[in-house]
Symmetry: C3
Subunit: 339 residues, 3 copies
């Protein structure tokens, strides 16, 4: 399926191999040695492909898929068309992700340090790193083993990257310490001076921004996202957190582990998010607030107060999602009545 | 008018030349050989300038303009001051655009491939291309004839550009196929991995993103805009579509021909827009939705349902613009009454 | 306090030195020759540190701070713990900014013009400039004395920078004239073509964008922010204005002196802002509007009408902040009643 100009298929694999990889159980009468060539979505799959039913709304596609094999939960396995090798998985989409990553592992760039990169003599570059043309590594930066730093990216003086980070092209990082396996997509800006100044009638006076950005292991930072360094404290992104494109994270913000921030959302200065918080697209969170573990914030919400652990909020200003639905319905009725 | 440091005026032209170019008709008693030196807005124009009345709200400026010539629709021609050469056009602003582009055609960069660019030996570069210093063209990329690729831009391996594309400075493109005459403004990111993962209590597992970005002819992509590649399917931008700055387009989104997306708007994954859809500034459109041909979405709307062909919506959550006005008025009254 | 990998402390200084710098008065019994080593926030400060009480909500931290000295207004000086050297200041936070900037002045890059930069032979580079590797300075650009232009930044042909500008890495500037001491953070895009075209059923026709961007002295432009050049007139940013990250400023916008635009806000074409206007995060301002001096616009507001001098507005569409509070409360009540 995947365009060979951009992706390399490492297959084929047997059904048995794939089931073992992702912890799936083979259905009755499945030949464990059946050969699978590729992954594909249900409606596009064909002979030799493995697919996945991960959402009941696609059950009709499942019933008619031409895939040779399919990952499915036990609840829906009965709907498999005849001849499809069923792989039972408790979390079929997660299993599919593992299988797809086996067929198409991330491509590692070889070639070492480009002679066209500008690497300062005091920078420490780990083993097996790739550094692309016109990348700049400044004084005393420390790059962990197996890092890839793509073309035209600038790593500022003193910055540290843990092992196996992937820093895409045209990125800027300064005043920051990154963990292991951090992925930074193209154009992200990390560690620049935050928006800190004193304002009065005589104009604005800068307050020096003297903190850092600390990013945990396995974080992903989206394209053209901006993360300012701390003013006094540090800006902190917890391990495993995923940040989408065009997100703004202001100075001193602390984000816990495994949070999700969808595109174009923003967090103002000094706000703290717990673990597993989900911030949907275009949400704005005001400064100096606290958002509890597992809280969920609906798209475009404007958060102006603390949010408790596990709470789901929506609206502007944000309220509980239940209240927001009530308000939306009430306003709708009012609009109909009033005219 | 235009600053000579940045623009080159190719004039002068005769009134007759300009009328022929844009399909305008000369008014009565207009000397077809009258010389026009430059373009200018009504209130700044002077002798030798051609201007344009494209909005009735500027009719007072029209009545007193010092321009030597003016493009105007027949409905307003009667208000032309004495001595102004009238050029009658059914769409005066469009005609003005054509005239202005004659005086100030886009400047083409000469100079071929910079010796300071990093062009891979397997990349195919068309005829008459410009490739700026520190641009990077990776393996097997194909660059069409007459393309301009400015400084510090990175074109990833396997990417194809049709002829006469203009890729501005500091852009990143990967996993993408572009049509002809595509304009990409500075800092845009096209083709990076989308925001796809499976989330549960054990953390996030990436789902490999195996699609591409397909961009049609004559598309424009704004500065610092981000367009993620597809997960399984492709992300598609139809011919002639205009995308403004800081726009987010997620994986698998399909946008039809001649759409307009204004700055800071965003479309979540797998949503489809028809043809001639207008998405105003800071709009958010949720994932897996369908927006019909010719639909219009007002600024800052939050779209959470499908939108029918030709519909105009506003609000959060978005409703028909008529309902939105009613709700806004009702809420205003309620606020006044309640206090 | 500050990480030595990123910051250099120029101290120590005497209390007397610091008071003189920021115009503070020493409290009773303060030894003017007491030595101060560093700055720190109240709750982190220790012996040898100077801190600051700038917000009454931190008064408990003030009462127990271990700082050796503290900037405070006369109203709260009585709460200073015993032994803390009190420096009385009418605006303690501003004074603190001055003191912190003494300890940690902005680091100037030495090294002159990198041999790896591409500086056109017709460009004029002032004295004592720094130009980083892979920076590009195009034809006829004029760079003022003492400017720093970091790696991978592109300064287009004809652009002028006043003295002592700091242009960070991976920035693109074209068609622009900048004043003195302008700070541009990484990834900002200044001077690209605006979003100007004529749209009808036959598709979009570009209107040539023939203006410039004019930026006054002491302006700061945030990371990945976009400022389009004017179409006929210029896009103008007044002296002292502070623009945060990911902000969109469309063609022909005029912003007065000392305004503040917080992250992810946007201003559509031809709108004018007066002096000292504050635009909070994620605000959208429609085109062709006028916003008076000293107006304040609350976060996420959608501004669709002119705003008077000194007015504070909120909401979508924006109304006076008083009306917005009334509407929010009325809607809340309605939601509770209606269910």
């Amino acid at each position: 399926m995947a365009d060979e100009r951009f992706y390399q298929n490492t297959g084929p694999y047997t059904v048995q191999d794939l089931a073992a990889l992702c912890g799936a159980t083979l259905g009755e009468n499945v030949d464990p040695n059946q050969i699978i060539m590729d992954v594909a979505p249900l409606h596009k799959a064909n002979t030799g492909h493995i697919s996945c039913l991960h959402n009941p709304k696609y059950i009709e596609q499942f019933k008619t898929t031409k895939a040779s094999a399919c990952l499915v939960s036990i609840d829906y396995a009965q709907y498999a068309p005849e001849g499809v090798a069923v792989l039972l998985a408790s979390r079929p989409y997660r299993a599919y992700g593992q299988v797809a990553a086996l067929f198409y592992p991330p491509l590692k760039r070889g070639g070492g340090v480009s002679p066209q990169a500008a690497v300062h003599s005091t920078a420490k570059i780990g083993k097996n790193c790739y550094i692309g043309p016109f990348a700049v590594i400044e004084e005393d930066a420390i790059i962990g083993d197996g890092c890839e730093i793509e073309a035209n990216t600038v790593i500022g003086s003193g910055v540290e990257l843990g092992k196996e980070c992937l820093i895409s092209a045209n990125v800027t990082i300064s005043h920051a310490l990154l963990g292991k396996r951090v992925v930074v997509k193209p154009g992200a800006r990390i560690g620049q001076k935050g928006f800190g100044f004193h304002m009065d009638e005589s104009g604005h006076l800068n307050i020096p921004q003297l903190g850092r950005v600390i990013i945990g292991d396995d974080v992903e930072v989206g394209a053209n996202t901006t993360i300012d360094r701390g003013a006094e404290a540090d800006t902190i992104i917890g391990c495993g957190t995923r940040i989408d494109n065009l997100v703004q994270i202001a100075h001193n913000v602390q984000i816990g582990e495994n949070c999700v921030m969808v595109a174009q959302s923003g967090v103002a200065g000094s706000t703290q998010l717990g673990r597993f918080v989900v911030v949907a697209g275009q949400v704005g969170i005001a400064g100096h607030l606290s958002v509890g573990d597992g809280a969920k914030i609906a798209a475009q919400s404007g958060v102006m107060r603390d949010i408790a652990k596990g709470e789901t909020v929506a609206g502007y200003p944000s309220v509980s999602v239940r209240d927001w639905h009530r308000q939306t319905i009430a306003l709708k009725k009012l609009g109909e009545k009033g005219n």
